[in-house]
């Protein structure tokens, strides 16, 4: 069962149109909330006038910050006290800081009417000049603070000595643009406060319901257990969905105020203005290099455009950028300085491979620069700097997401070799060279990366078997639509020897299980999967002990298969899990001298993450006329430790690769000089469609299982994305014959044309170049 491409168990409702996403859920008597948003990037808020809106039919009320008694939204992840002044208020009070910032809310009995009325709310805002560039010297944020929310400094070793002694120093400046997850389902929330009972039910939770329950309960001053978050179907997460945003707090606040359910469904325009942006980093990076290509030190300084506020992720992105930047290489000395700077743009958070997409782009471009300056193939530089398998586990004296950064296992060179053989890279390059000789601008680029996954510290699972033999697995970890239920089903089915059809996975409901971390950081299979295995083992022991009493046999002589316990070698003695469950009914169990209920809990706890790795290869063609970069093929080799379901791992890798491609060629939130967002529809913010999606070949290997969990698994959610920007950049360089041409993502057609032109100039001006 584990290791098999089992077809997904969660598919049917999604195919039949009976899925229940947030917008599909309604409650009797619900009111509809519409957010009035700032139309200007920066200004002093002098007044909010809702009188015209209040005169509209069906309007229940208009509220602004003065009506709220709520603190700012807190942090969920890696936080430094210095970041506290930069938290986002639920509604802007004195100052607006980005276009799209919530300023007021309108509630009405119908969503169309709420939207109409919101248009009539008049905002008196005195505009201020916006800050739009993270490289600009910090400006004033408020009376006490400037716009540099954090200067994160980290590193190890003697970087100064390494550079002083290095025969070569290579440096460059690179930029990754502003883009983000953009799930196809916009956000949505439905809050149901019940006067009298004092309970609050919240539908539309995702990703981290238990963590968000604490944040929401804290803001509202309610005991956490009276706040029940309910995850529905989730139309893609990608890091963005499921954080606590102002709108989540507002529906809860309004429901309590009105004593009736309140529903808010985001539209696409709002989503592109209001949900977390991501990336947008500039790196100035340099390497100290020995004559043979060995890198003795890296010194990196980066500037992150955090947007207008620091949201729930706090310092997660800059600290991950810093700690994961050295990647697969030894790098005996390293220094990093990350500036988190506020601007007047939509606030930023995590997006699939946060910090690693950016840091990998900087580092792998640096490797290409080292190779170019030494006149060696880039792969040779990589191989001579890799951490070797006999150095594993490899501790880098830094921390990542609060854990010690210690790579658990890996054989990077082995993966390179396997990829070269499987994908026929030598022949592929040969073919591309032949096409180039005929005048085509085609090329191949590679980039290597290390990912992190399986963040602890814990996840819990409860398994129970009913009297029909049906099995419920309950976990607070959530599903973002990635096949989570199937993976958990496979692990349980294997351990208990039951058919997958007898299992149901319940997830993301805070009243079903007390504790959970959630669905992020590629942690589900590692953490919830391991907890499932541990719970299933405990349940198995319990079933065997009960069957031993019932069969008057020793547990050692019993085996569990096909949903029944048998005496080994005696197929006729079967006693099913259903019968055992019946025997363990609370009114029956005492007869056997056993604890009631065929139920078991499993906890998986860990202090460390596990570290998968991979090689991304892109083949691109640049259209000489238009500058369009066409990805012809993407190739991904990835070591996942152990694949519970290789079909699902491949799906994750392919989907991740497409998103990496989007960030490299298409997706970008642009702002005009006045700070107005230019990409607020899918006509301006370009997602990869079928037309841009090349074939993706995937090689999954299992050469480095993780010693840190009982399954040996590592995460697969982000490894399709991490190095795709770097690989595509290298491929464009190769296609145009410009070493280190691409220093900025995304590569728009005009940038590719500029590079092509530069290449032509270079080749014609070269003395004796003919």
């Amino acid at each position: 069962m584990i290791g098999k491409p089992l077809r997904r168990v969660e598919d049917l409702p999604l195919l039949l149109g009976t899925g229940r996403f947030a917008a599909d859920i309604s409650l009797p008597g619900q009111a509809h909330l519409r957010v009035v948003r700032s139309p200007v990037p920066h200004g002093m808020l002098r007044g909010v006038d809702g009188r015209k809106a209040l005169s509209m039919p069906g309007v229940i009320g208009v509220w602004s910050a003065a009506d709220l008694d709520l603190g700012p939204i807190g942090f969920r992840m890696v936080a430094f006290p210095g970041m506290l002044p930069y938290r986002q208020p639920v509604l802007a009070a004195e100052r607006v800081r980005y276009v799209g910032e919530p300023v007021a809310i309108v509630l009405a009995d119908d969503p169309y009417r709420a939207e109409d009325a919101a248009d009539l709310v008049e905002l008196d805002i005195e505009s201020l000049p916006p800050v739009l560039d993270q490289l600009q010297e910090p400006a004033q944020f408020d009376d006490q603070n400037d716009t540099e929310a954090l200067l994160h400094e980290d590193g190890y070793g003697d970087v100064g000595a390494a550079f002083a002694a290095a025969p070569h120093v290579v440096e460059l400046t690179v930029t990754v643009g502003r883009h983000t997850g953009v799930p196809l389902e916009c956000r949505g929330a439905l809050a149901d406060y019940r006067p009298g009972a004092g309970t609050l039910d919240f539908y539309g939770a995702a990703k981290v319901p238990h963590q968000n329950r604490l944040l929401l309960a804290g803001l509202l001053g309610l005991p956490p257990q009276l706040v029940v978050l309910r995850e529905a179907h989730v139309g893609g997460g990608f890091g963005v969905r499921g954080e606590v945003y102002p709108e989540d707090v507002l529906v809860c606040w309004a429901s309590r105020l009105l004593g009736r359910p309140v529903k808010w469904i985001e539209d696409r325009n709002e989503h592109l203005l209001a949900a977390n942006h991501s990336r947008d980093q500039v790196h100035r990076i340099r390497a100290a290099v020995l004559a043979d290509g060995y890198i003795t030190a890296i010194d990196d300084e980066f500037w992150l455009d955090q947007g207008a506020y620091v949201r729930t992720h706090a310092a997660a992105v800059p600290t991950l950028t810093a700690s994961m930047l050295p990647g697969p290489y030894q790098i005996p000395a390293y220094r990093v300085r990350g500036h988190v700077r506020l601007t007047n743009k939509t606030p930023a958070g995590t997006y699939r491979a946060p910090g690693r997409y950016e840091g990998t782009f900087a580092r792998e471009r640096l490797i290409d620069a080292v190779a170019s300056s030494l006149g060696k193939p880039a792969m040779e530089i990589r191989l001579s700097n890799f951490i070797s398998p006999d150095q594993m586990p490899y501790a880098r004296p830094m921390s990542a997401l609060g854990t010690d950064l210690e790579y658990d296992s890996g054989d990077y060179a082995l993966l390179v070799g396997k990829a070269q053989a499987r994908f026929g890279l030598a022949e592929l390059e040969h073919g591309l060279a032949a096409r180039r000789a005929l005048g085509e601008a085609v090329g191949m680029g590679c980039a290597f990366f290390v990912e992190k996954s399986g963040l602890g510290p814990y996840e819990a699972v409860r398994i129970s078997v009913d009297q029909s033999g049906h099995i419920d697995i309950i976990t607070g970890a959530g599903s973002m639509g990635q096949g989570f239920e199937t993976v958990i089903t496979q692990i349980c089915a294997q351990e208990l020897g039951v058919r997958p059809e007898t299992i149901r996975v319940l997830h993301g409901q805070t009243d079903q299980i007390e504790h959970a971390m959630g669905a992020f950081a590629s942690r589900l299979t590692v953490m919830a999967g391991s907890a499932t295995l541990i719970a299933a083992q405990a349940l198995r022991e319990k079933a065997l002990a009960a069957a031993a009493r019932m069969l008057e046999a020793s547990p050692r002589d019993l085996e569990l298969s096909d949903g029944a316990v048998r005496v080994a070698g005696d197929p006729d003695t079967g006693i099913s899990l259903a019968q055992i469950s019946e025997a363990l009914r609370p009114d029956q169990a005492a007869r056997w001298g056993l604890e009631p209920s065929l139920t078991a809990d499993g906890w998986h706890t860990t202090d460390h993450m596990c570290y998968p790795y991979g090689l991304h290869i892109a083949v691109v063609r640049v259209d000489a006329g238009t500058g369009q970069v066409i990805a012809e093929r993407l190739l991904v080799a990835y070591d996942v430790g152990r694949a519970v379901n290789p079909m699902l791992v491949e799906g994750q890798i392919v989907g991740g690769a497409a998103q990496g491609l989007g960030g490299a060629l298409l997706e970008e939130f642009r702002y005009d000089d006045a700070g107005h967002p230019q990409c607020t529809t899918f006509m301006d913010y370009l997602l990869p469609t079928r037309a841009e999606m090349p074939p993706v070949d995937v090689l999954i290997t299992e050469d480095a299982p993780s010693p840190r969990n009982p399954l040996g698994v590592k995460g697969a959610g982000e490894g399709g994305t991490t190095a795709m920007g770097a690989a595509i950049a290298a491929a464009i360089d190769a296609a145009l014959g410009v070493p280190l041409g691409v220093k900025e993502l995304p590569v728009h057609p005009e940038a590719a044309l500029r590079l092509a032109k530069a290449a032509r100039r270079e080749s014609t001006s070269e003395p004796g170049g003919a």
């Binding site: 598919d11 039949l16 149109g17 696409r268 639509g481 899918f682 997602l687 079928r690 074939p695």
Partner: protein, 171 residues
């Protein structure tokens, strides 16, 4: 033709009007303002939430339904204009509890992850075969390009379309 001016349809609205739509073969009377989109009429007024809203601007394809058997973006179609026409949604695709072959192929080929775009993809994919626009991969790429899948299950969606096409061709 001879200077005759065709009678314009009577102006309706802006208040709610009685309208009867034919959805999945059933007459469905409802009262809606003329500005209500077919997508909102289905989702908010008729309880048919299978068709999804990804952009409400005609740019993502998640709301794809059929009007008289042709693909239509329900978010850009006013519900009142569908009177007298047959509207088919994802809920009407699988007759009698049996999956449509395209739905079965989507399971077999792992053609989706989160499933949000899936009803639109399936309505588009089935229509594609009826239109004769699935002869080769290039056609599939072009004629399915209006249906965005952020999980990027595109290669597997194509495999599902091919599988249904080839099975039908082999009959």
């Amino acid at each position: 033709m001879d200077g005759e001016i065709a009678a314009l349809p009577a102006e309706r609205g802006p208040s709610a009007q009685a309208v009867t739509l034919t959805i999945n073969g059933e007459p469905r009377p409802l009262r809606i303002e003329p500005r209500v989109s077919l997508l909102d009429a289905l989702r908010e007024h008729l309880g048919l939430t299978g068709s999804k809203k990804g952009c409400d601007q005609g740019t993502c394809g998640a709301c794809t339904v059929w009007v008289d058997g042709r693909r239509a973006l329900a978010c850009l179609t006013l519900a009142v204009t569908c009177e007298g026409h047959e509207v088919t949604t994802i809920e009407g695709l699988s007759a009698g509890g049996e999956l449509h072959p395209m739905q079965a192929a989507f399971i077999d080929k792992d053609a989706f992850q989160c499933g949000y775009c899936t009803p639109g993809q399936i309505m588009s994919a089935v229509a594609l075969l009826d239109e004769g626009h699935a002869a080769d991969d290039g056609q599939i790429r072009e004629w399915m390009s209006g249906n965005i899948c952020r999980c990027a299950a595109y290669p597997n969606i194509r495999a599902a379309i091919r599988a249904v096409r080839d099975a039908a061709g082999g009959e």
